[in-house]
Amino acid sequence: MGAEAVRVLVVDDSPVDRRVVELLLRAAHCGGGGGGAAPFHVTAVDSGKKAMELLGQRRSNRLSTSSPPASADVSEQAIDIVLTDYCMPEMTGYDLLKAIKALGSPNPIPVVVMSSENEPQRISRCLTAGAEDFILKPLKINDVQRLRKCSGVKPKTAVMNSSSFEVSHYFQFIFKFILLTYALMCLSQLFHRWSNGSFLSLWCA
């Protein structure tokens, strides 16, 4: 059974970087990330402003409809994780991170920041502001797994395995309870006959 798609919003002002990340995330599932690993559905925008507009749109779509759309169009559903570049004009990745956290959602969208600069101050600033992770560019195939973990989307097989485990655990409990009850009944029978003095007749029967 296929895993639920991880819906990633990629925010980067560089068209090359946007495309590389997009293709890398798609190829990571098809190439080597199979075996139940969640595929990525990628939406890419070139600025923090567009990212906020899109997130606002998706949020109001979800609030205005009581049930998911019948066509189950992944592109219109909520975003599971935002992957943003740090250095962008007008609205930096850090500004975007703070804006997303300021939305005050009960389930805030995880944000991962990426940058080509390995600056400890920048990294700690982003993590303190609530970023799930900080990835150094250029993105590599190993970084895809980190992204998957940060998204918090469980593969369907894991959910199925945990529910079937609970069911078998329940049946085991019931079986043990029945055995214990039967054993107690036998013991009480024995005690009753012994107290009536018919213990010997029990052995002879």
Binding site: D13, S14, P15, V16, D17, R19, V20, L23, L24, R26, A27, A28, C30, G31, C87, P89, S116, K137, P138, L139, K140, I141
Partner: protein
């Protein structure tokens, strides 16, 4: 030309680019991701890089021609070029961009102009090799397609 010969030609070209320091292991990562599910991965990314790089270099030349150079703006463009070079594995261009940024920090117009010439030369050299690589890849794809069609016809005939 047969697909095998084209493959050898392509490998020789790419190996030469690695040997000359034009490419680094990031390009190898991109090559590894190219398979039947993403057959145009490398050509798409390389084409985007060539177009975007050309745009940035033109913009840099324009900015540095101004009487009052906005070094922060220049630095921002160089940062973009450095980023996209790193993403495709264009090692030499990336390293020159690092030097370029230092001259931007120093607010040195002469330093920036000299480094721009160097970046331009290296970028055009890389671009011509990328274009040769894409031509070989296209010819190889055509050759493979032709062979498939021939095999299918032969199977149908038999």
């Amino acid at each position: 030309m047969a697909a095998a010969a084209l493959t050898n030609q392509l490998n020789a070209l790419v190996n030469n680019m690695f040997a000359m320091g034009l490419l680094d292991d990031q390009f190898q990562q991109l090559q590894m991701l190219q398979d039947s599910t993403a057959p145009d991965f490398v050509s798409e990314v390389v084409t985007l890089f060539c177009d975007d790089g050309e745009r940035i270099i033109c913009e840099l030349a324009r900015q540095l021609e101004k009487p009052n150079v906005d070094f922060d703006r220049v630095d921002s463009y160089v940062h973009q070029l450095k980023g996209s070079s790193a993403s495709v594995g264009a090692q030499k261009v990336k390293n020159t961009c690092i030097q370029f940024r230092e001259f931007c920090q120093q607010r040195s117009r002469d330093g920036c102009l000299k480094t721009l010439d160097l970046v331009r030369t290296e970028f055009y050299d890389l671009r011509s090799k990328f274009q040769a690589m894409l031509q070989i890849m296209n010819r190889k794809a055509e050759s493979t397609e032709k062979k498939k069609n021939c095999d299918a016809e032969a199977e149908g005939a038999s």
